[in-house]
C-alpha cells in the first residue's frame, strides 16, 4: 500500500510532516543544494530578530556525548534584510516557510509578528520564546507560564486566524504541561517541543568554560528521550493540540517515535550538520517505516503509543 505522507497541521496543508528545525537550516538557501526545499514539509527559518545581531563570541560549539552544545546567540541580519532577501527567495523557490521570530521584549515579538504576518507566502509563524542563548535567563519567556502566555497572546492579537501560530517551548521547566496549557489558552494553534536544554562544558585543559558564551543549548540524539517525553506528556494532557516534535531525530524511525508519542509533525535539526540532506532523507525513511507496518499515512500513528498498554 503506498503511503501518503501529506498532513494537516492546524489548517496548514503539508506534503509531508517533516521540517527543518530553526537554527539548523539558516533560511533554507544553503540546504537547497542538497535537497529540494520545496519538497520538504516546511522550512523553519533561523529565528529572526528586529535588528541585525552579531551573536556571541566564539567558540560557539562544543561536542558532547551523542550531541553538542551551541552558543550562537541568535546571530542574524534583522527583519528588514530577512523580508527583503531571504523570505522572497523561499517563496519564489516554492518552499513553505515557517518563520521563526525571537524578541527581547513582548513589543519586539509583536512588531516582528505583524511584519511577518503581512508578508506574502508565509505558511506559519513559530514564536521562539525558549532560546537559551540569551544573557538574561529572565528573558526566556517559556520558563514561566505567565510570561509565555503574555507573549503569545500579544502576538496572536496581530496574527490573523488563517495563519497558524506555533510556540516553541523549553524542556527546562518543572511543569511543561502548565506552560503548554497557558500558551494554548493564549491562542497558539500548536506547540513545538522542544528547544535545546541549557548545558555547560568545562575545557579539561584550561578548566574554564569551553564556550565563549559560557552556557549553550544541548541538542542531538542525547536529548531525544527528553523530547519524546515532553511530546508524550503534552499530548496526554491536550490530545487535540497539534504538536511538532523536535530533538535528536536522525532517522525515519526516530521520527516515527515522535508521531507515536503524539506529534503530528517533526523537525530535523542537529543531524543536518553532519548530513545536510537529512531532512528529506528522514521524510523518505518515515514513509518506508509506515509502509513496513502497513499504515496509510502519518495520521494513523499520531499518539498511538498512548493506546498501547497501561500508560
Amino acid at each position: 500500500m503506498p503511503v501518503d505522507l501529506s498532513t494537516d497541521l492546524a489548517g496548514l496543508r503539508l506534503p509531508n510532516p517533516v521540517m527543518t528545525a530553526s537554527g539548523c537550516a539558516a533560511a533554507g538557501r544553503e540546504l537547497d543544494t542538497f535537497f529540494d526545499v520545496a519538497e520538504l514539509g516546511a522550512i523553519v527559518t533561523k529565528s529572526i530578530m528586529r535588528d541585525p545581531r552579531s551573536g556571541r563570541p566564539t567558540p560557539r560549539m562544543a561536542e558532547t556525548p551523542s550531541g553538542m552544545l551551541n552558543s550562537i546567540g541568535l546571530q542574524g541580519p534583522g527583519i528588514d534584510s530577512f523580508l527583503a532577501k531571504d523570505l522572497p527567495w523561499l517563496v519564489a523557490r516554492g518552499a513553505r516557510p515557517v518563520v521563526s521570530i525571537a524578541g527581547g521584549t513582548t513589543e519586539e515579538f509583536v512588531e516582528l509578528a505583524r511584519r511577518v504576518a503581512t508578508s506574502p507566502g508565509v505558511s506559519a509563524l513559530e514564536v521562539n520564546i525558549s532560546c537559551p542563548n540569551v544573557e538574561n535567563r529572565g528573558l526566556v519567556f517559556a520558563c514561566d507560564p505567565v510570561s509565555a502566555s503574555g507573549v503569545v497572546a500579544a502576538v496572536r492579537a496581530v496574527v490573523p486566524a488563517g495563519l497558524p501560530l506555533f510556540a516553541k517551548l523549553t524542556p527546562d521547566v518543572t511543569d511543561l504541561v502548565s506552560v503548554a496549557a497557558s500558551v494554548v489558552d493564549a491562542g497558539a494553534d500548536g506547540l513545538v517541543l522542544i528547544n535545546t536544554l541549557l548545558g555547560l562544558r568545562i575545557d579539561p585543559v584550561t578548566l574554564r568554560p569551553l564556550l565563549g558564551g559560557v552556557t549553550g543549548g544541548l541538542s542531538g540524539p542525547a536529548i531525544r528521550p527528553v523530547a519524546v517525553r515532553c511530546v508524550w506528556q503534552v499530548h496526554r494532557a491536550m490530545p487535540e493540540v497539534p504538536l511538532i516534535g523536535v530533538g535528536g531525530i536522525r532517522t525515519g524511525a526516530d521520527a516515527l517515535e515522535f508521531l507515536a508519542a503524539g506529534a503530528s509533525a517533526v523537525q530535523v535539526g542537529t543531524v543536518t550538520f553532519n548530513d545536510p540532506s537529512a531532512p528529506m532523507r528522514v521524510a523518505h525513511e518515515l514513509a518506508d517505516e509506515l509502509a513496513r507496518r502497513g499504515y496509510a499515512g502519518p495520521l494513523d500513528v499520531v499518539g498511538i503509543a498512548h493506546s498501547r498498554g497501561d500508560a
Binding site: T58, R60, G213, F273
Partner: protein
C-alpha cells in the same frame, strides 16, 4: 602573515580554520570578525564566505570576541 605582507606593501590572503559544526553555512559556528567591501565589520562564516580572506580585512586580534562596532554587536554584556 598579514603584518609581514603589509610591511612590504603586499596584499595577503589567509586561509582560516575555525571550529565548524556544519561546514555548509547553516549553523553560524565558524564565524570571525571580517570587514566587508562596505567597510562594515560582520561576524562572517569561514566555511562558505571564506575560508580564504584578505588578511587586512580580518580582525585577527579580535578573533574569539565580538569587536565593538561589529554589525549587531551587543551594547553591553553580550547577547
Amino acid at each position: 602573515v598579514t603584518a609581514v605582507a603589509a610591511q612590504h606593501g603586499a596584499h595577503s590572503q589567509c586561509a582560516v580554520e575555525e571550529a565548524m559544526a556544519c561546514g555548509v553555512g547553516v549553523c553560524m559556528t565558524c564565524v570571525l570578525p571580517v570587514d566587508g567591501d562596505d567597510g562594515i565589520t560582520r561576524m562572517v562564516r569561514s566555511c562558505v564566505e571564506g575560508p580564504v580572506f584578505r588578511g587586512e580585512r580580518v580582525h585577527w586580534d579580535a578573533v574569539g570576541t565580538i569587536p565593538g562596532g561589529t554589525l549587531g554587536a551587543p551594547p553591553t554584556g553580550g547577547h
